[in-house]
């Protein structure tokens, strides 16, 4: 007891002195942030760090530090110019992109129109096997770069006007082209990235040179970390930290333990098993932000028993979405009743109408009147933590429709897709979608068009395809959205999939950082994050 009192007596004057010195040097900001500190952010091992080959969030997070995009998205998810001075078009076919002056790559090279043209040509050229090559398919001449021995090496639609201006000619009008430019596939590459024209230097990926607010500090330490430091010659908004260490984790649970003990600053997705305790563990440092993810159940519409839209409607009505988001997801996701995410312009609440209203009695009557199958199966990938909600959904269908229902797990999503592509009877199957850029088209096109890249359920509606195409070609964004919404109304009638939930980013940070914000793409905003002194 005496010891403790003694400690208190020494601690008191010490605290006063410290407080006084803190006041004396108080010019550093009253919030007590440290512009010379580095912050530590969790990522998984990136697959690639080449802009046109990076398609997952970890790589994209690192590239966001190293590169500055042509356009970015504001709080209302609308595009605004960053590295571009302007992106304009009269007819939505020929786009003129003017770059801001003063940008340089980290090796000192000034950024010119050539850097964009070279990078995009590299990304579109099929033999390079780039994961994001499909982003260039709307540019004229893309077809000539495909196949094993392409007819051309460069996109005919890209033309340099002067050092800071180039034009992009599309093969068809596309009103969302400017919005699309925020994706990381559209970053420029320096001359130093190429060992000869069109051939990427082998070592480039180990220490990518960009034109963004941070530059590489050393090389990519595989499975360990990627470190970046502030690039002082960056002409745009300067970050408020001196550097970032992207620390690589394989299991989110390990990262979560590190955040709890201040060994790591930001975890971008709190693991599901910690969701119930995280709000108390982290207090105000537990945060959520909107995400673009969209979870749904799809029907193999090529199968006889699911071909009647009323069967699909009855199943949708028999699912209590609120119950599942609450019980299984602890409200970390929200119920979905439309075919696009609320984060895109043109989203309307509850477009599926009746089909989204939980009404077991009506559902059962409808299901029996149209003779729905007496046994349902829901397939899912067993490695994604989906078992709980699939089982819950099955239980609801069993109770409300008086059918047998089983969840059947495939080891991986790729195994599920293999079966679906072979049109094997897998029953209903779960799918999810995350957008590449905020536009209704980025949901409607790939998911429900007859030739959509993620339309695995064989939905075909020529009228729908026509409306989406008209939307893409519309003169203004408003007209485009009107067309997209008409297209979405068709989906609500046909119900090829049942919308279930929209995701949120559920993240947390240590007590050593503030102003942690996540954008729609699960990337920490590196210009905003600050380190606490």
């Amino acid at each position: 007891m005496r010891v403790r009192r003694l400690a208190a007596w020494t601690a008191l004057p010490l605290a006063v002195t410290l407080g006084l010195t803190a006041c004396g040097s108080g010019s550093g900001g009253s919030g007590g942030t440290d512009p010379n500190a580095a912050v530590r952010i969790e990522i998984a091992e990136p697959q690639h760090l080449v802009p046109t080959n990076t398609t997952e969030t970890s790589g994209s997070q690192v590239l966001a530090a190293l590169f500055s995009p042509l356009v970015d998205y504001d709080d209302a998810h609308q595009a605004y110019e960053v590295a571009a001075e302007s992106v304009t078009s009269e007819d939505n076919i020929t786009w003129t992109i003017t770059l801001k002056d003063g940008y340089t790559f980290h090796n000192g090279e000034p950024v010119t129109a050539d850097n964009y043209i070279d990078a995009w040509n590299y990304g579109a050229y099929a033999p390079n096997g780039q994961g994001s090559s499909y982003f260039f398919e709307k540019i004229a001449g893309y077809e000539d770069l495909q196949g094993e021995t392409p007819a051309a090496q460069t996109l005919s639609g890209l033309e340099k006007v002067d050092d800071l201006t180039f034009t992009v000619t599309l093969s068809a009008p596309y009103s969302d082209f400017r919005t699309m430019l925020g994706y990381n596939a559209f970053y420029p590459l320096p001359k130093a990235a190429f060992s000869e024209p069109g051939v990427l230097d082998e070592g480039y990926e180990q220490a990518p040179i960009g034109q963004g607010p941070f530059q590489m500090k050393g090389t990519w330490q595989h499975d360990a970390r990627v470190e970046v430091e502030r690039y002082d010659a960056f002409p745009g908004e300067q970050p408020k930290v001196a550097g970032v260490e992207f620390r690589i984790y394989q299991q989110p649970a390990a990262a979560y333990a590190d955040v709890l003990s201040d060994n790591l600053d930001v975890i971008k997705a709190i693991p599901t098993e910690n969701l119930s305790t995280a709000p108390t563990d982290l207090g105000e440092r537990f945060q959520t932000s909107p995400a673009s993810s969209f979870q749904f159940l799809s029907f193999p519409t090529y199968q006889e028993e699911f071909s009647n839209p009323d069967v699909r409607k009855a199943i949708s009505m028999a699912i209590d979405r609120e119950e599942i988001t609450k019980a299984v997801f602890k409200d970390s996701q929200t119920p979905a009743r439309s075919f696009v995410s609320p984060v895109v312009a043109g989203y309307r609440d509850n477009t599926i109408g009746d089909a989204g209203t939980f009404d077991p009695a009506k559902a059962k009557a409808l299901y029996q009147s149209v003779g729905g199958p007496s046994r349902l199966e829901i397939s899912y990938n067993g490695d994604g933590g989906h078992k709980d909600w699939i089982d819950a959904t099955c239980n609801q269908l069993r109770a409300n429709l008086d059918v047998e229902c089983v969840g059947s797990a495939e080891p991986k999503f790729s195994d599920l897709l293999t079966k679906v592509k072979a049109e094997q009877p897998v029953g209903l199957f779960r799918m999810g979608w995350v957008m590449d850029y905020p536009s209704m088209e980025n949901y409607l096109g790939p998911l429900y068009s007859s030739n959509g890249s993620a339309n695995f359920y064989g939905y075909e509606n020529p009228e729908f395809d026509k409306l989406v195409a008209e939307g893409s070609a519309a003169a203004s964004e408003e007209e485009a959205i009107a067309k997209y919404q008409q297209a979405e109304d068709l989906l609500a009638e046909d119900l090829p999939v049942i919308p279930l939930r929209y995701g949120q980013h559920v993240f947390g940070h240590s007590s050593k950082v503030t102003n942690v914000e996540l954008d729609l793409f699960n990337r920490v905003d590196l210009l905003k994050i600050e380190a606490v002194q």
């Binding site: 099929a126 033999p127 780039q130 499909y134 299991q251 333990a257 003990s261 490695d383 993620a454």
Partner: protein, 312 residues
């Protein structure tokens, strides 16, 4: 002795090729669509699919394709080239980065096993039916009953997060202290077995004729236990530890994952999850070599411990 070792080395070559063939065949048979697995739930572009298919000969299927790809792999392997993983990294580089940290972890686990396990085992054996003996029995039963997948996160939460005695994760280039907790967790399972084995062997040997002779000769107890009994009791323990060393190297998948140590188990787990055939086969091939060498060392140690065992 030399002839014995030579013969064993020759057998190892055969065993090595046999196991790689089996592992390669299993990986080949179990492979669904590795390109889609790599992309997760995203659609894969035609260009990327064509590129990877050609690079890894994924279009060569069936028996013909299997032997074509296997011999292609072995040919490269004999030239010291382990190949590339599906994400384009050299497997040799991945292994070179992963092995040092796994070896460190395994050695710490081994040291914990030997120091604590054998010492406590001898004590328990000498003082049979004492409080110490009974409490170690209870403790080892608990440890054996709790799988690592439960033990590791609990240890991490209590000792790392709650009481902050150890860093909760070790990371890429850890110091000895941050590897200590994972090492203890990893070693605890083999510790329990080693303890039980030592205890039984010591208890049995204490009743042997030569101990009675030694005692009647007037030798001090410490010398009897420390030299004569221990040496004879270690034979089953050494067998166990030899096999366990191989297990510790390859079986640290859970521990390395929980404590975020990018070692061999960490990479093996990822390789299996993403159906990265070349990486799985590469890692397992090296693990096979580790097992074979560990077995050889155990056999040689037998002769050292027990002069009656001679190899011709």
């Amino acid at each position: 002795m030399v002839r014995f070792i030579l013969r064993r080395l020759l057998q190892m070559v055969l065993a090595f090729f046999g196991t790689t063939l089996i592992v390669y065949a299993l990986m080949f048979a179990g492979q669904g669509d590795p390109i889609q697995a790599l992309a997760g739930e995203r659609p894969v572009t035609e260009a990327q699919r064509a590129y990877l298919t050609e690079k890894f000969h994924l279009d060569r299927t069936g028996i013909d394709g299997f032997f074509y790809r296997y011999f292609d792999y072995i040919r490269n392997l004999l030239q010291g080239d382990l190949g590339e993983s599906l994400t384009g990294r050299q497997i040799g580089d991945i292994l070179a980065a992963a092995w040092p940290v796994t070896i460190k972890l395994a050695l710490i686990a081994m040291a914990v096993t030997v120091l604590v396990g054998v010492t406590a085992g001898v004590l328990a054996g000498v003082r049979r039916a004492s409080i110490f003996d009974n409490s170690t029995l209870l403790l080892t039963l608990v440890v054996l009953a709790v799988p690592t997948i439960v033990l590791a996160p609990i240890a991490q939460y209590l000792l790392g997060v709650r009481w902050q005695l150890f860093p909760p994760t070790a990371g890429a280039d850890p110091d000895f202290y941050s590897l200590l907790l994972p090492g203890i967790v990893l070693g605890s399972l083999s510790l329990a077995t080693a303890l039980r084995l030592t205890r039984t062997a010591v208890a049995e040997n204490l009743r042997a004729d030569y101990v009675r002779t030694a005692r009647s000769k007037g030798l001090v107890k410490r010398r009897i236990v420390g030299i004569h009994v221990l040496r004879n009791s270690l034979i089953p323990v050494v067998t166990f530890l030899g096999v366990e060393l191989g297990n510790l190297m390859g079986g640290a998948i859970i521990t390395e994952g929980v404590f975020n140590i990018p070692g061999v188990g960490f990479n093996l787990f990822r390789a299996i999850r993403t159906e990265d055939g070349p990486l799985v086969v590469g890692i397992v091939s090296v693990l096979v070599v580790v097992y074979l060498i560990a077995n050889l060392v155990v056999d040689v140690l037998y002769a050292v411990l027990d002069p009656r065992i001679r190899y011709e």
